[in-house]
């Protein structure tokens, strides 16, 4: 199915405001700062803004969602109606176009690529106009800011033979609550559940897209999609919109082909990893340290890769999730109202609710 590419439609009006720049060729030398990056060739000078490409800095899951430059880091983007007329703190924008870390050699290679790849200037100027709108503190009122953060937090924990996926049910915009009873969790297959927080418009579209793709798969293969397969599909779907991303922070949970718990965590453009537990959304920075402490899994950097599912029982994991959400609700204004907990195990999908603070 052909997706309308934003660059092909009238982008010229936006590009007039973009400052001149080297083309954003999809080469390693111009990867945006903070998107998880892996150097293919360790001997070449490091293209990323990090001084040396140490894997532990680039592949650690805790950094990824916060540093993607297109999406705001830990706090939500400015709401259109800020209470005191003053916009909330501006998002730091760190696209590495004029990075001091770019060596001379790379600058030359970028400019040579600029000549060869003609269509990239359009995409890059669209990206830059997005970024320039990110930089201005009054951006929330400008016509070209296309996203909105509806808040919320999602958590998933993988166990030996179960998986717990939980998300709060509050939908908010700015300082207002839109609804107290909105589910962020989508059951994609009988062993796969997706929880997403972020911009609900994009989340709805993403879930619909994945559900449709799953239906096609079922017709073609006469079976349900497995969790790792859905994980890959989600990653591809997100990366397909690399230059106009889905503002969705996802956590995919389910059982893998062997019946063991399986959790995948994503950033907004599709970088994903299988982990033992994860959290995304506005309360994620409050919850992640607690999960790290309680569910300490072996470091993902040790090879061969070891499985990181927690030895806790299903009831203990659900108890931990409830407590951790109650704590996040105390301190995060965008998390609250009700908690929806979905548990997937061999006997199917089970749903449970917990009341949270409503203030």
């Amino acid at each position: 199915m052909a997706w309308p590419c934003p660059a092909s439609s009238a982008v010229q009006p936006l590009s007039s405001s973009a400052p001149p720049c080297p083309s954003l060729a999809p080469s390693l030398s111009s990867l945006p700062k903070g998107t998880r990056s892996l150097s293919l060739n360790r001997r070449s000078p490091s293209p990323s803004p990090l001084p040396s490409l140490r894997p532990e800095l680039t592949t650690s899951p805790s950094h990824s969602p916060h540093k993607l430059h297109l999406s705001p880091p830990s706090h939500p983007p400015p709401s259109p109606l800020s209470p005191h007329g003053k916009p909330p703190p501006p998002i730091s924008c760190s696209l590495n176009l004029t990075s001091p870390f770019l060596v001379e050699k790379e600058k030359q290679s970028i400019s040579s690529k600029a000549n060869t790849e003609k269509q990239n200037p359009l995409l890059s100027s669209l990206l830059l106009s997005l970024l320039s709108s990110i930089k201005s503190p009054t951006m929330a009122l400008r016509g070209d800011w296309m996203y909105e953060n509806n808040g919320g937090t999602c958590v998933a924990i993988a166990g030996i033979d179960y998986c717990v996926v939980a998300a709060d049910t509050r939908l908010s915009v700015g300082y207002n609550i839109l609804t107290r009873d909105h589910s962020k969790i989508c059951s994609l297959a009988d062993k796969v559940v997706l929880a997403s927080s972020g911009f609900q418009g994009d989340i709805r579209a993403l879930h619909k897209n994945l559900a449709a793709r799953h239906l096609l798969y079922q017709h073609q293969h006469n079976k349900q999609m497995s969790c790792p397969a859905m994980g890959q599909l989600l990653s591809n779907t997100l990366y397909y919109k690399r230059f106009f991303p889905y503002y969705a922070f996802n956590v995919l949970g389910g059982l893998d082909n062997e019946g063991k718990g399986c959790v995948f965590t994503y950033d907004a453009v599709g970088s994903y990893e299988r982990v033992g537990y994860s959290t995304q959304g506005s309360g994620s920075s409050l919850i992640m340290p607690v999960l790290d402490n309680q569910l300490k899994s072996p470091s993902p950097l040790l090879l061969p890769a070891r499985d990181a599912v927690t030895p806790l029982s299903e009831t203990e994991a659900v108890d931990l999730v409830k407590d951790v959400f109650a704590s996040a609700t105390e301190r995060d204004i965008y998390t609250g109202d009700k908690l929806e907990i979905v548990v997937i195990n061999a006997s199917g999908i089970k749903r449970e609710y917990l009341e949270l603070r409503k203030d």
């Binding site: 700015g174 300082y175 609550i177 402490n293 949270l356 203030d359």
Partner: protein
């Protein structure tokens, strides 16, 4: 020869760094967020005096910095002031005017009047041209009767029978506009104020936690701190948490011994009292 005379010290804010700050913002610097109170604050006049109310949440961006913050500030024994906006500004301005009122009471030998507090607040806020971000609901009972005023950050004031301020002001005002009438009794007044604050607490994300109420009548003031606690924690794990030693990875250990021998010298200078 250099200049011998010194410039007189200027009071108030120095705006010398504004150009530099603008340049930094343009270059993508993220300003640290002020702690704002989010807030719902209200006041109303009933038959015997004034009732003030406030929520207790202080926010720093999307995070709750203080779950039980006091927003009703003392100005005089018969005057209290609720503050919304930047927490530091509301605290500083109410403390300052409270001190000025006390000095004035000593000078005049009389009970402070609400209009005195009002004039001091508005002239201070106006002279700072809105940079002191304090939005206040001032209420009290003096010899001329009960008074309720609102003060805006730029220095304008209103005198009203019922008032709300803060991010939750619209939610609270909807309750007041539906249910307020003149000549409310004390119980009705307190109940209405609590209801308005609860509307702010539950419908505005910048306000939350508990309800504080202050009732000021002739000769008597009652500060009902945490009058209502409508938001208890909904779940607490009965298991508790254990933090086993070794869960946090120790990367390196360095032990530096401090001076093993301390020499005591007799007959040094006596310490100041």
């Amino acid at each position: 020869m250099g200049r011998m005379t010194e410039l007189p010290t200027k009071g108030g804010f120095s705006f010398d760094l504004c150009t530099r700050n603008d340049m930094l913002l343009k270059n993508g610097l993220q300003m640290p967020p002020f702690r704002k109170t989010g807030t719902t604050i209200v006041g109303l006049v009933f038959q015997d005096g004034v009732v003030l109310g406030a929520d207790t949440r202080a926010t720093e961006g999307p995070i709750v910095a203080d779950k039980n913050f006091e927003k009703i500030h003392f100005m005089a024994p018969n005057i209290y002031c609720c503050g919304a906006g930047t927490a530091a500004d509301t605290e500083a301005v109410t403390d300052m005017v409270s001190s000025q009122l006390q000095l004035h009471r000593y000078a005049t030998g009389r009970e402070s009047r609400v209009v005195t507090a009002l004039t001091l607040l508005k002239s201070h806020l106006f002279s700072y041209q809105g940079h002191v971000s304090a939005a206040l609901v001032l209420g009290g009972f003096d010899v001329t009767g009960p008074h309720l005023h609102t003060v805006y950050p730029h220095g304008s004031t209103d005198t009203l029978p019922f008032a709300t301020m803060g991010s939750g002001s619209l939610a609270a005002m909807s309750v007041f506009e539906s249910k307020y009438r003149e000549g409310l009794t004390r119980e009705e007044g307190i109940e209405l104020v609590a209801e308005a604050i609860c509307a702010g607490i539950f419908n505005d994300l910048g306000s939350g936690s508990n309800v504080d109420v202050c009732v000021i009548t002739e000769g008597k003031t009652e500060y009902l701190r945490n009058y209502q606690l409508p938001n208890p924690r909904t779940y607490i794990s009965s298991k508790g948490y254990t933090f086993v030693k070794g869960q946090t990875e120790v990367l390196s250990t360095k032990i530096t011994s401090i001076q093993p021998k301390v020499e005591a010298v007799e007959g040094g200078d006596a310490m100041e009292e």
